[in-house]
Subunit: 427 residues, 2 copies
């Protein structure tokens, strides 16, 4: 996940220490929770057992989980959920692993989901050994989203140690397919086919570190794999024929001249590329993957339209610039990912509750939008937000990704999600 | 190999049917050879056994030989050279396979080399099954340069059947590393370290099909693998930082705007590309391979200078266009291939002899330059030309590469190399 702040008009903002202007029900519920001895006991467990959480982060980070290859991590995580004593622990047909912490309500009633994703963006073979420097852990995927997986386990232990029972069942999920090519396949299954699909009344995705963030907006995305094809031939003998690589280069250059608005936040990336057979051959086939996102459906559509024009112009330019007698350059974009744009209402209980929990821990809530697992429930009208796992972190999706696991800040961050979860699950 | 015609001033051009203007010694030697009963008998063998030559082409084409992975083909070819009764059959330390057909001169005397290359441009896993349609064979590598390997075997059988003895030893070579990344490593070894290195008085590379071609010029080349590096990051969260892919796209687009002279023939190709980790990550590393060639050392140097400017400008442009706080884009070109430019003198005996042999078979010799195995002996001042294996062909370095193995045209073409070889080896 990645986040953009949104200036939210009309959202009541409270800060700790100042008297609440208009304490609403969410605020009152959260305050009652965090002041309860049981919650304090749970947080004390998070604090006391923090080293174990760090150990879990390292264990899980060092199991590679490239998109569509999460199975090893999924199995390991399922065993951990089982070890924490959850009921109904299983891996579904898509690869999501989950277990239920039963509430006091009748069996088969509403479920609150807390999910973290197993997959990372990194391909097979990427070294995933965790390097520790002081309180910092460095490794691909350590923060996005492996820390969250470990925090879910810590929550279960803390709730059990404090003997906290909620009214609703809580479903803890380690899901698949959150990153790029997965295209939210884990969530599509959970909400489309999974056995809990009609029981989910609220959904939390824990993704990334920042505890102040309350992601209520779903950034939409469109992702393409673009195939550039031409006749190909000998680099010397066939010089002068069209080269699909030239069209691709031009398309990339033109894309990077496109201006997009900062608000609503709109982005693009030419991200993965490949093709060609040998240095002395004009390639017949090269390809490019491109990611486009926006908080706004209209801006996303506008960017996509411009991108399609750029592709067409790049092919036309190449076919006009060089010899096409052996064949023209063709450019074929294939949609490989599409995520709905949308938002949980700013006034929804889950948004107000999570913001209140952040304030209660001393944070100024940052409401924003991102492209996360929450996109799917949001698109279905199910109350959903994406929250942080606590502690600091950075450089997600890069090989020098890191998190800081200093205990006080980590536990303070973790307390936000726990309070929000309890508030939504009821007592 | 690939060829460009050169307008040759001062070269005597004869055509069959017209009276020679000034029959020189080369012309007289070739005429004596082709009119001899022994040569006619040898050509009759080529004709009679042509189906076997076609079978050898198919057998050898269907053994993959990507650059640096020629071993399987080399072993098979070595067995074939042995089966033809050559002496001193061996594979050298670089992977060249060869065998000697002893002449009548004293052992250890001058050697005439006839070489064809084993390697193709196609990577591992490329389907190499030959498809036949009438007299056409389709398969990657079938013409460049597998037919030549089979023609060498046909020559040995034809010489033996006709009981032709030459004065000089003839070394038949199936060599490695002619294509791109091999960077002529087979020839560098043969002429730099091989046991015949001080005995080679003339060198024929048989590469490609066209029997009219007499390649006496060595097209020089410079090849780069260019690494584009940047900080990388989340496609959405880190949008706005520099992207090495954007610099690469611009460099390709700018390269393809460069005008190069048609004479001296000068070419470039952006040929192979790769990099990036996932569709939703700004890549930290992408790379590009580029091939530049020219008949002229100066034009090649000029093109290379312009290319380096383009790379620098592309990096500068990207670093100015986007945020560099996490790091700048760097562009690092690495020279991965360099072939000397040069030429065997147009007046050299080997050039005049080969042109005479082409004329004797009814072709109008096309003198030109290319980048072939001959580049190495040419750079050492050893008389060398590259000749064709006979028959028609096309689409070298593409997946739809083909040759035509119609018997009359193939045998006519094959007679050119045989006559030139015998003329240079002496009787």
């Amino acid at each position: 996940m990645s986040f953009a702040r949104i200036a939210v008009a009309g959202l009541a903002v409270f800060t700790l220490g100042a008297a609440p202007v208009r304490p609403d029900s969410a605020e009152r519920t959260v305050q009652a929770i965090i002041q309860s001895p049981a919650f304090k006991s749970a947080v004390a467990t998070l604090e006391r057992e923090h080293d174990r959480t760090v150990a879990d982060i390292i264990t899980l980070t060092e199991i590679p989980a490239p998109p569509f290859k999460e199975a090893a991590k999924g199995k390991a995580y399922m065993a951990m959920l089982k070890a924490e004593g959850l009921s109904d622990v299983e891996m579904d047909a898509e690869g999501n692993v989950m277990g239920l912490r039963r509430g006091t309500g009748p069996a088969g009633g509403p479920v609150v989901v807390l999910a973290a994703h197993q997959d990372t963006v990194f391909p097979e073979g990427t070294p995933v050994k965790v390097r520790r420097e002081g309180t910092r852990l460095f490794a691909p995927g350590v923060g996005d989203d492996t820390r969250s997986l470990a925090v879910l386990l810590a929550y279960i232990r803390a709730l059990d140690a404090a003997k906290i029972r909620t009214r609703s069942d809580i479903l803890f999920v380690g899901d698949v397919g959150e990153e790029g090519p997965g295209d939210l396949r884990g969530m599509r299954y959970l909400f489309g086919k999974g056995k809990y699909k009609d029981r989910i009344k609220a959904f939390f995705s824990m993704d990334g570190s920042e505890a102040a963030r309350v992601t209520f907006g779903a950034v939409g995305s469109r992702r393409y794999r673009v195939a550039f094809h031409g006749p190909g031939g000998h680099s010397y003998g066939a010089f002068g024929i069209v080269n699909p690589m030239a069209a691709m280069g031009r398309a990339i250059d033109q894309l990077y001249a496109v201006k997009v608005p900062a608000r609503p936040r709109t982005t693009y990336a030419a991200s993965v590329v490949g093709g060609g057979v040998s240095v002395n051959s004009i390639p017949a086939d090269v390809w490019l993957e491109v990611d486009m996102r926006s908080e706004s459906r209209d801006e996303l559509a506008k960017l996509d339209t411009r991108f399609q024009e750029i592709l067409k112009e790049a092919a036309d330019h190449e076919n006009a610039a060089r010899d096409t007698r052996l064949g023209k350059v063709t450019v074929t974009p294939k949609l490989i990912g599409e995520r709905p744009t949308g938002a949980t209402s700013e006034d929804a209980l889950i948004v107000r509750t999570t913001a209140a929990a952040a304030r209660a821990a001393g944070y100024t809530p940052e409401l924003g939008a991102s492209s996360t697992d929450s996109n799917i429930p949001i698109s279905l009208g199910i109350p959903a937000v994406t929250i942080g796992s606590g502690g600091r972190g950075g450089r997600a999706h890069s090989l020098d990704e890191w998190i800081d696991v200093a205990r006080p800040e980590s536990v303070r961050g973790m307390s936000v999600g726990l309070a929000a979860l309890l508030a939504m699950a009821g007592s």
